[in-house]
């Protein structure tokens, strides 16, 4: 039995296999519409997340399975003081697979130690969110036709953004990827990520504060939200937030086939008039999230079309 707790639980071959399965699901949805008939997915969301939960539930429904679960810890036994391990053991009696989100880091690992059914980490605090990474990989693959040989710029909050760390980790295992980290000094990519992931393998990267400077080089631009709560000074926040607003004007020097990603939700870092630009892929990314979760559910349940 396999779980998905961290993106590094998957080999490059397995990530490629999931992307390929998701592509096939998109091309031939009818082939997959009953593969999970009779199976149940439990979505245990100890903290609210509409997008991820609905994506998992839609994925299972499109595979012909059914779903159960809760969307808020206050409606579960956690509110009575039940431990994660106990909740998981109980739910494992009713469901064939569990997707869980929890505010505490490592909660899915704790769950996996006691679970009789596969566990999917749907986000544990600021720690890991591996299915967002799979979503990002599928989107890049669909837009570029490959996960090798391109330059990706990450822009915004690179210090606290778990989606950034996880995607850097995954892409660093593919050939020919160059990273450009665009952020204010206060929100730079953590040293440990450079020391542990990029430097040992000599993976090229550069750091800059200027999105304009980096823009012409990028094949993929991964925008993130600059989070107000990270700043001590309101004026600094406003200055930096406005620096990284992506608008049609900012996109003028960009490559014609660049693709723009964002894990969403956005606040104001991408103006709405960018949405009509053919390079804007963030809503396609949301749709892709469902397909790659379908592929993942199939893999962990060991079912085939």
């Amino acid at each position: 039995m396999r779980h998905l707790i961290d993106i590094t639980d998957l080999s490059v071959d397995e990530m490629n296999e999931l992307v390929a399965t998701a592509e096939d699901i998109i091309a031939n949805p009818a082939k997959y519409s009953e593969v999970c008939h009779g199976k149940k997915l439990a979505t245990l969301f100890f903290e609210p997340s509409t997008r991820t939960r609905l994506s998992f539930e839609a994925a299972m429904l499109d595979l012909g399975g059914r779903t159960l679960g809760f969307a808020d810890a206050s409606t579960s036994s956690a509110s009575k003081g039940e431990t994660v391990s106990d909740t998981i053991r109980v739910v494992g009696c009713y469901a064939d697979i569990i997707a869980m989100r929890h505010p505490k880091e490592g909660a899915p690992y704790a769950a996996a130690q006691r679970s009789a059914v596969p566990i999917i980490n749907a986000g544990d605090g600021g720690h890991n969110h591996p299915t967002q990474t799979l979503t990002d990989l599928l989107t890049i693959h669909r837009e570029r036709g490959s996960l090798e040989n391109f330059t990706i710029g990450f822009c915004g909050d690179l210090k606290f953004g778990r989606t950034v760390h996880s995607l850097v980790n995954a892409l660093s295992r593919y050939r020919g990827i160059k990273f450009v980290f665009i952020s204010p000094q206060e929100l730079k990519i953590p040293d440990y990520l450079k020391e542990n992931t990029l430097d040992p393998d000599g993976i090229p990267y550069m750091e800059t504060e200027s999105l304009d400077e980096a823009m012409p080089e990028l094949d993929v631009l991964y925008m993130t939200r600059v989070q107000k709560e990270r700043f001590f000074n309101e004026a600094d926040y406003l200055r930096l937030r406005d620096t990284y607003i992506l608008s049609p004007e900012k996109l003028v020097p960009a490559k014609k086939d660049m693709c723009i990603l964002h894990p969403l939700p956005r606040v104001n870092e991408i103006t709405v008039d960018v949405d009509d630009d053919p390079r804007a892929c963030y809503f396609k990314q949301v749709a892709n999230g469902k397909f790659v979760r379908m592929a993942l559910i199939m893999k962990l349940l060991e079912v085939k079309a």
């Binding site: 994660v84 391990s85 505490k104 880091e105 490592g106 909660a107 130690q113 542990n196 430097d199």
Partner: protein, 141 residues
Amino acid sequence: MNIDSIQNGIVLDHIRAGRSMEVYRYLALDKLDCSVAIIKNAKSQKMGKKDIIKIDSPIDLDLDILGYVDPGITVNIIKDGQLQEKQPLELPKKIVNIIRCKNPRCITVAEPQLDSIFLLGRKPSGKRVYRCAYCEAEYHR
């Protein structure tokens, strides 16, 4: 200063000076009925100063705990007044329920009944480090 030599038991030698009480606590030596001698700041050619613990009984030692506390310790097994065996120590790959994660966002802090598991890793600088198996936070003493 003289401490009687032991006939059957264990001598923990080359403990870093000042660490003997930590070793004493981790190994729960206060629970033993036999004689236990703690020698602090003994002269050492190799270390300058060192601590030594003599246990006058052949007990089972948790070498993982000792390795974590101080991998430089030498474990001497004494039988019939003679040195029978020297057991080398190394940092254990996995330690369970010896230290607790200090990351306030870690599930093991919210649910302390979970086993506290730390895995040995290596930083690119070569430095060895223990990381919480749950949240991956580095442990600093």
